[in-house]
Amino acid sequence: MADYNIMELMICAASRELEDGASIVVGTGAPNAAAMLAQKTVAPNLVIMFEAGGISPLLPGMPISVGDSNTTWKAVMASGMCDVMETCCRGMVDYTFLGGAQIDMYGNLNSTRIGPDHQKPKVRFPGSGGANDLGSLCWRMMVMTPQDSKRFTEKNDFITTPGYLEGGDSRDESGLPKGSGPYRVITNMAVFDFEPKSKRMRIISINPGYSEKDIQDNCGFELLKVPKIKNTKPPTQEELRILREEVDPYRYVIGR
């Protein structure tokens, strides 16, 4: 078995969810690494965009900012924020990767605050940035995050970015674009999707070294399960080589 760390496993698992010819808006860090790896493996024609305006660059390395010069390196266009967000709103962006301090069973994300007082929060985070926009407007939102029972919570302190809101049809009824929403959640322990009717998070595959009990014990709400839970395929030697040599040679992300 190949020797790899959790971050490498999560990035490889995420990259395999992207198909050739799809489009994605990504941020810095692990999402960017997953998109770059996909471009060099399963999805050579993946269209990568950045919210600040970089369109389809030939990324020379990992950006520090979604607006730095890496995001327009040999790009087809240097555009702007409205253009990218409106491209999402028109329905031409398939995927986005997001994260947060809290996530609930419907995939709603909190990146705004902890504590009840909005004007004087106990802990303040950056806020939405482009997350609410991308989680609202892209077809499929994916989340890559470490998992524990504090982060996977029964009730978020704040819903910054919409998942399936209160489940069922509530997302479609809210006015958000129909048929959009969370698609996968990829953690150190497992990969999840969302049950089509209730829109609740459910286990679809378990990462090497973990059990169903580990996964439920590290989650603040009851998880659903698909009838046949799979084992998450570990990274291949080739994926690891590309990830370590070409995608993140300075180990900015995979060294975390």
């Binding site: 810095t28 860090g29 919210e51 600040a52 305006g53 970089g54 020379p60 990992m62 950006p63 520090i64 900012s65 979604v66 607006g67 730095d68 010069s69 890496n70 995001t71 327009t72 390196w73 040999k74 240097a78 555009s79 702007g80 924020m81 409205c82 967000m85 709103c89 709603n108 705004t112 909005h118 004007q119 004087k120 929060p121 106990k122 802990v123 303040r124 985070f125 950056p126 806020g127 939405s128 940035g129 482009g130 997350a131 609410n132 926009d133 609202s136 407007l137 704040f158 819903i159 910054t160 970015t161 919409p162 809101l165 509530s170 997302r171 809210s174 006015g175 958000l176 674009p177 900015y252």
Partner: protein
């Protein structure tokens, strides 16, 4: 039009399009020489209590010199558009320049982590906040640039971000679909850093424009800092390169390395060492005060600031780093 739902956040600016027209009716159109120092521009066009917006993307093509000058002149009680803001926010929070804040992205410096001082300020209760998203604020600027009082968008609905915003939910008169109505944002003053400008304010930008083209049109007063001045003849030799025309601009300031320590596309990369120094020194308020004295309060202008951080040699290295990216050399 019926309002289906609305956020509890307060609007810090007036979205009324006729009030904006009344202002723009009096804005000078003559093509005059607007060259001045950053000190003069901030004295003349940015005042206590007004609403401020900063162009660029946090630590990319930002008007650093204007941010520093706002601290040196002790501006207070301003409203601020925390739109894609990172290092610019960090500077303004260090001077407590604003106490009313539209939030899309604050405190963080993306992959670099969170600013300890900016976070302390935002957890102090001293700042009145209204919650938005990056696209929401872009759309609000777009509405203002269009000269209307709102535009409809499809983000934000169903979330707490909406509940704590100043947006409203309305029904489309054609389809019956629900939309978020984003009120126009007409800032009192904005500063944008560009690659090239003439003395009248005709500007060229290379690379991504983020929301700056709408911001330049939405703001009542506009301070331009430019890497370098070019002649009006050069502007007229290729009008398709101009993205901001002179009549939007109130002040033109030539500031070489004006986005430092931020990245400037095709010119120089960000000084990551110096930005990390900011993040580290902020943990200790006493050390941070000394750091601000050295880098802002005891500096006269951006030349002094650049000199205090390695001068031409550092700029040459950052330029080399940027061009290395552009040439894809290893």
């Amino acid at each position: 039009m019926d309002v289906i739902d609305q956020g509890v956040g307060r609007l810090f600016t007036d979205p009324d399009a006729d009030n904006a027209r009344a202002f723009f009716r009096k804005k000078p159109r003559a093509m005059t020489n607007k060259l001045m120092t950053v000190k003069e521009a901030v004295e003349k066009f940015a005042h206590d209590g007004e609403y401020l917006a900063i162009g660029g993307f946090g630590a990319n093509r930002i008007p650093t010199a204007v941010c520093h000058e706002l601290l040196r002149q002790g501006r207070k009680n301003m409203g601020f558009a925390g739109h894609t803001s990172t290092h610019d926010f960090q500077i303004l929070a260090a001077g407590k320049v604003f106490n009313k804040l539209d939030i899309a992205y604050i405190i963080g410096l993306e992959a670099r982590g969170l600013s300890p001082n900016a976070r302390r300020y935002m957890q102090s209760g001293e700042v009145e906040v209204c919650e938005w998203t990056n696209y929401s604020l872009s759309a609000r600027l777009k509405a203002a640039a269009m000269g209307v009082s709102f535009v409809p968008t499809r983000n934000i609905m169903g979330t707490d971000t909406f509940k704590f915003s100043g947006a409203k939910i309305i029904e489309c008169p054609f389809t019956g679909a629900k939309y978020a109505a984003m009120p126009a944002l007409y800032p009192d003053v904005a500063a944008i850093h560009v690659h090239e400008a003439d003395v009248y304010g005709n500007c060229r930008i290379r690379g991504i424009t983020i929301s700056d083209l709408d911001l330049a049109r939405a703001t009542k007063r506009l301070i331009i800092t430019a890497e370098r001045l070019i002649s009006n003849e050069e502007i007229r030799s290729e009008p398709s390169y101009t993205v901001i025309p002179f009549y939007l601009v109130d002040a033109v300031c030539e500031v070489p390395y004006g986005s430092y320590p931020g990245n400037m596309y095709g010119e120089y990369f960000s000084d990551e060492e110096h930005i990390m120094e900011w993040m580290t020194v902020e943990k200790d308020p006493d050390e941070f005060k000394k750091f601000l004295d050295k880098n802002i309060y005891n500096c006269k202008d951006q030349f002094d600031y650049v000199r205090a951080n390695g001068g031409m040699e550092k700029m040459w290295k950052l330029r080399h780093q940027e061009l290395k990216i552009l040439n894809n050399e290893k």
